[in-house]
């Protein structure tokens, strides 16, 4: 169709392709923002670690249990954002998507933070294992006698046991969670490998323009997607669902995934809106691209609602105590978390649904960027809603926000600042688009015809 479009001289199209692809439009000054980026990365990581440190020292009205919880909210939230972008990159390759040639580089950049985002989660896990379970009560020998934990022990401890092999009595000394740690290492390897490979292949194509690199990326994405799906779902089970070891939901992996893609798409939109706002990518990432990314954001706010309601619905209907406890604790009329749950229903679904439904919102980078920022906020609150109540649960502590609220805020803001710093450092390091992607023409001419 390109010949026809050129023939018709319809204003856009590749008549002025060279002009669109001039270096000033599709690249930032190499090494720009390096100092600022690294600085913010360090500050963000330091702010997060201060929370953990204060918890360990018992400073600022903070318990270690609370500190680990606050630290996990932000770090796992950012991990989900990066996983979301890894998914987008893999999905773009798998579906041979043409329109994404001008936006995929930024998804790769965000996904490239995965190894660091994963490293940021580790201190919480190390603290948990070292202190034998503050939040992860299944690590605590006091719970080794629990019938439900005994039934699930292999998932955490295999090949070790938390019962005496002779007498079958629960052990009183902490057992090292071998299988859990092995899985964590495996997630790190998978995510590092996939994010690195995807970024590397696309950068190589910037240099050589070799079409075979696209085919290789697509092949890697084919089996990489399977690994991504399994690792993301099980990371959701391991790091969030296991906060209450009696609770179980086979839908939890999809629930974590849905939030990840929602917030990941939002971060991608924000990054591109910011680049457009600074005068870059003019005519390269157009309102048509924002329109389609807006559709993705819309789709995943619906998907999140669909999954999280379905999860709740089945548990509500079947009324099994070990399942309903999760919701009862968060939605009981006396629960301090009830308001947050209702806010999430409105803020994470109903409001974004009605607003992003409007075509004009999806097509305007400023409006869509505002919705994306909102999406990141409610995504963090969603994870906060999962993690934070567990800080007060179980040991008779008075539930509520009063004590150490500063840590909750810092735990969310710190990892986000670190991500921002990384992007400021990373984005100028390569061309802002995949400039020699075989589908580049298609992306430049991309339009929504309806």
């Amino acid at each position: 169709m390109s010949q026809l479009t050129a023939d018709m001289k319809h204003g856009h199209g590749h008549t002025d392709k060279a002009h669109l692809l001039r270096p000033a439009n599709i690249s930032l000054q190499h090494g720009a923002g390096r100092g600022l980026g690294v600085g913010l990365l360090v500050i963000g990581a330091a702010l997060s670690l201060i929370v953990l440190g204060a918890g360990a020292a018992g400073a600022g009205g903070l318990s270690l249990k609370h500190a680990i919880g606050a630290y996990m909210v932000g770090t796992i939230g950012v991990l989900a954002i990066c996983l979301g972008n890894l998914f987008l990159v893999l999905a773009f390759h798998l579906t041979n998507a043409g329109w994404v040639a001008t936006i995929r580089r930024q998804a790769e950049n965000i996904a490239s933070y995965l190894p660091l985002a994963f490293l940021m989660v580790l201190p919480a896990l190390i603290a948990e294992i070292a202190t034998h379970g503050k939040l992860f009560l299944w690590l605590n020998p006091a719970y080794y006698g629990d019938e439900l934990l005994l039934a699930k022990q292999a998932y955490f401890y295999a090949p070790l046991h938390i019962t005496d092999p002779e007498t079958h009595n629960p052990l009183t000394t902490p057992v090292f969670p071998v299988f859990f740690v092995l899985r964590t290492v495996l997630y790190g390897v998978i995510w590092t490998f996939l994010s690195r490979t995807m970024a590397k292949l696309s950068r190589q194509q910037d240099e050589s323009g070799d079409i075979a690199l696209s085919a290789r990326a697509r092949f890697t994405a084919s089996w990489g997607m399977v690994l991504f799906a399994l690792s993301t779902a099980f990371a959701g089970f391991d790091y969030l669902m296991s906060l209450d070891f009696k609770f179980f939901s086979t839908m939890w992996g999809v629930y974590f995934f849905a939030g990840a893609i929602f917030s990941g798409t939002a971060t991608l939109i924000l990054t591109l809106a910011r680049l457009r706002g600074s005068g870059k990518l003019q005519g390269v990432v157009t309102k048509e691209h924002f329109h389609d990314m807006g559709k993705l954001l819309f789709a995943f706010t619906v998907f999140w609602a669909y999954i999280s309601f379905s999860q709740y619905f089945l548990i509500w209907y079947s009324n099994i105590p070990e399942e309903t406890a999760f919701y009862l604790y968060r939605s009981d009329v006396n629960s301090p978390w009830r308001g947050l749950g209702i806010f999430l229903m409105i803020g994470h679904f109903i409001a974004p649904f009605l607003i992003i439904l409007v075509r004009g919102v999806k097509q305007r980078p400023a409006l869509l960027g505002a919705m994306a920022a909102w999406a990141i906020l409610v995504h963090m609150l969603d994870i906060y809603w999962v993690v934070r109540p567990m800080v007060d649960a179980g040991d008779g502590a008075r539930p509520g926000l009063e004590n150490g609220f500063w840590a909750d805020v810092l735990g969310i803001v710190g990892p986000l600042i670190a991500l921002l710093g990384y992007l400021i450092y990373r984005v100028p390091a390569s061309c802002l688009i995949v400039k020699r992607d075989p589908y580049l023409n298609e992306a430049l001419e991309h339009r929504n015809y309806v």
């Binding site: 169709m1 026809l4 479009t5 018709m8 319809h10 209907y317 015809y449």
Partner: protein
């Protein structure tokens, strides 16, 4: 015909439906569409064997109202479904199910969702047909042997005689100028 007080007839006294012009290439039919659009015609259409990107703009077609109709249909479905279930379960025939309250919004969600989808889908398909003036039994253009190639390798523009700007001579001249390879009158 109703839009205009002038009624055009052929020499055989047949009322005229419009003027059909044939074009050889997608580009030429697109340019012709732009010319017809710029001349201010409203009751006209183009016929091509495949969708031509940019044709909506060339024809000056306005965006469809269908999304608004679908939204209205969908939200009506959602509202009606919830109201129906509330009335049946909590008002008209109260029955304790699984120890849940009569008015359990959780239980109402699936049907509310499904009816929202159903009403949206019905509004979309029925609205689409209605806005397109479908179904209809026949079309005057089908009488033209030449028009058959519109599903093969030829491109057509047809301007209806019912258009207020229609004038047999000037409309024909416009299409000739736009590069039509053949022009003929179509009887009603």
């Amino acid at each position: 015909m109703a839009a205009s007080n002038r009624i055009y007839v052929t020499e055989a006294n047949e009322p005229i439906y419009g003027i059909l012009a044939e074009f050889a290439t997608p580009a030429s039919v697109c340019h012709a569409a732009e010319a017809v659009r710029d001349a201010g015609y409203h009751k006209w259409d183009t016929f091509t064997p495949f969708p031509i990107h940019g044709m909506e703009e060339a024809m000056g077609v306005k965006r469809t109202k269908l999304p608004m109709l679908v939204a209205a249909g969908g939200f009506t479905g959602v509202g009606l479904a919830y109201l129906m279930q509330w009335w049946m379960s909590a008002v008209d025939y109260q029955m304790v199910t699984q120890g849940k309250p009569y008015h359990s919004w959780q239980a109402f969600v699936p049907i509310t969702f499904e009816l929202g989808i159903l009403f949206s889908a019905f509004t979309a398909i029925i609205g689409m047909l209605a806005l397109n003036g479908l179904p209809r039994w026949n079309h005057p253009l089908f009488k033209k042997e030449r028009f058959l190639s519109s599903s093969d390798d030829r491109f057509f523009v047809c301007i209806e005689a019912g258009d207020t700007k229609f004038d047999p001579d000037r409309t024909r001249a416009l299409l000739e100028k736009a590069g039509a390879t053949s022009i003929e009158l179509v009887e009603e």
